[in-house]
Symmetry: C2
Subunit: 362 residues, 2 copies
């Protein structure tokens, strides 16, 4: 499929104007744009500008509030629950992460569960906010159900990602950002577009049997939890996805399990929803609430260097530290631009026309 490389700055300008034209404040539009496009910079293409038209359709369907009153509805010195007032998750999540960091500044750590939000882009952006203040950042979110728990034929969990970002000294930060499934849905979508088969362990069919048919989610199939099957520990991936769901939604009063609102605006809302919107969970831990930051950083550098210099299996050049591939891609794409597939370009062009916003591709 053909693709066009577009400068990051051009996409920023377009996206910011688009968010403003649906009613977002200038500050919110800037935040939402930075969060959304961080996915494109870091190579998680499924969660970036390719989803922009999806966000706009949610606003058109009345499911996104462009001018939310985001607020804390309950708190203790180290915790809070935030009500996102149906705002863009791209705006609600940074607000909530800031609350977590403020609490960490006060009492050592901060933990915030969020109700009444929407999709928040990549987990990594929010967790990485903590790095600038010498804190460990944690970010997770639930999402609409695509994943079958071990032994189930029903889809009851989202791909429910977790990110943990840990500062280092001279070395770049450790940033683990991952779906709790064997493969993220975005990777499956790539196979679908290219009409390729999926490896066994990524998905099952409607009867719960392993399948390589990348299209099986359209016929009742499901993504599989990390591990793939019981013998390979899928009950652990299932447990991780469940923990994300419970911390994000049962702790906040959002929707959980099969009741999480779907991302495509044309999919009807589930019946009998127990909570409000989508849920997220954030944590911030001040390094010096445990140890002098300088000591910690020295050990983190030592940790990172030891792992990066480990002997490799034949054919691989080095053992990676979580965050290495995304950081390297980000530096390339900031410089050289972001490759967009034709359908994404067409999507942006129709948004440009509809909202009368200039879209510069060259």
């Amino acid at each position: 499929m053909a693709e066009t490389v577009v400068r990051y700055e051009n996409l920023v300008e377009f996206t910011r104007q688009l968010f403003q034209s649906i009613g977002c404040s200038a500050a919110d539009a800037t935040t939402a744009t930075e969060v959304l496009l961080s996915a494109d910079l870091r190579g998680i293409d499924s969660h970036g500008i390719a989803r922009l038209s999806g966000y706009i359709r949610l606003w058109e369907a009345g499911r996104v509030n462009a001018t939310p009153s985001i607020r804390i509805i309950h708190e203790t010195p180290s915790t809070a629950v935030v009500d996102g007032d149906s705002g863009l998750g791209l705006v609600v999540a940074p607000y909530a992460m800031k609350v977590a960091m403020q609490k960490a500044a006060q009492v050592g750590t901060g933990w915030v569960s969020v109700q009444n939000s929407n999709h928040y882009g990549i987990a990594g952006w929010h967790a990485m906010m903590a790095l600038e203040q010498e804190m460990i950042g944690i970010s997770m979110t639930n999402a609409s159900a695509l994943v079958a728990p071990t032994f189930s034929t029903e889809r009851l969990l989202g791909t429910n990602p977790i990110c943990v970002a840990i500062p280092a000294g001279e070395e770049p930060a450790f940033v683990a950002d991952m779906a709790t499934t064997t493969a993220a849905n975005g990777k499956l979508e790539i196979l679908q577009r290219k009409n390729l088969e999926a490896p066994i362990g990524w998905i099952q069919d409607a009867e719960g049997k392993p399948t390589t048919d990348a299209h099986s989610l359209k016929t009742g199939g499901a993504l599989l939890p990390l591990g793939g099957d019981r013998e390979h520990g899928s009950h652990k991936g299932y447990a991780l996805g469940a923990i994300v769901d419970i911390f994000s939604a049962v702790l906040s009063g959002a929707n959980y399990g099969p009741w999480v609102p779907p991302f495509p605006a044309y999919v009807p809302m589930p019946t009998g929803m127990p909570g409000k919107g989508i849920g997220h969970f954030f944590g911030a831990m001040r390094i010096d609430a445990f140890r002098p930051a300088a000591d910690f950083k020295k050990d983190m550098d030592n940790w990172i260097r030891r792992f990066r210099s480990a002997k490799t299996v034949p054919g691989e050049t080095s053992v990676l530290v979580p965050g290495d591939p995304e950081r390297e891609l980000e530096s390339v794409r900031r410089e050289q631009g972001i490759p967009l597939l034709d359908p994404v370009i067409e999507d942006l062009q129709s948004l440009a026309q509809k909202f009368s916003i200039p879209l510069r591709l060259a």
Copy 2:
């Protein structure tokens, strides 16, 4: 291999007397016994009384201090670092978890990283302490290196387990207790004893190639992170094990990665150790620091019932909730006794003789 079923109470009595005869106080011996044997009750046989002689050998080697001065060496309202003074992890860990819970009672959550400890039994026992006080409990520990990160032929991480225990209302608690590898080392040991092959995805050989030889850890092989290989997400299992290592040891000043002290007392200590002993990490979050506990419990019950009643794949009777198998086994074994393999019985008999403690098997 032949086995004998021994009453739980008999094992408690023997183990308690043994810990007292190496110098533990009566209170510490009681705690250590309860923690150690909870593994046998819950079916994690590799971490229970089968390890008792190993703990004693560590004491004989001067690596376990039976009368430690466990203390907080740094703290904020929501955090602490605990120095275990080389005590039994079975005693240090409950101390540290209590500190986390006290902080949660005060400011909503508590987070404790531990240095200078030893193996702490099963992660689950410590996390489950929180359940009685309507808190979520989190427990993790590093361990000596048996696991190769993705692309590595070197063993740099332990099986580094994570447990998250979440209270419910009328339903039993959600308790996910898992090694961050595809399969725990205990499962591999079972295959070794029975001379069976391991599934592909559990282990690699010395060159980093997938193998089914359950004995390959003796010839330079390694356990694999959850996921098994890169295509099936082993980089995620590696990241999880790394997070456990960093929270447990880099945050506390314990040893990490390949420098974690080995459990077998005859294995020499690694050279160039950067910290003190083994590290753990504990968390406690008060439910009502987020939401009224009654509301949370109602939603947890709803979550658990929805998952447990999901449609199953053919041949399975129900979708399990994390903690179900261990809880069911515990109720059986408390009643009917704990099956012990002959080599374990012989181990206990030689301890009984050496320390002149009566061992009742019938």
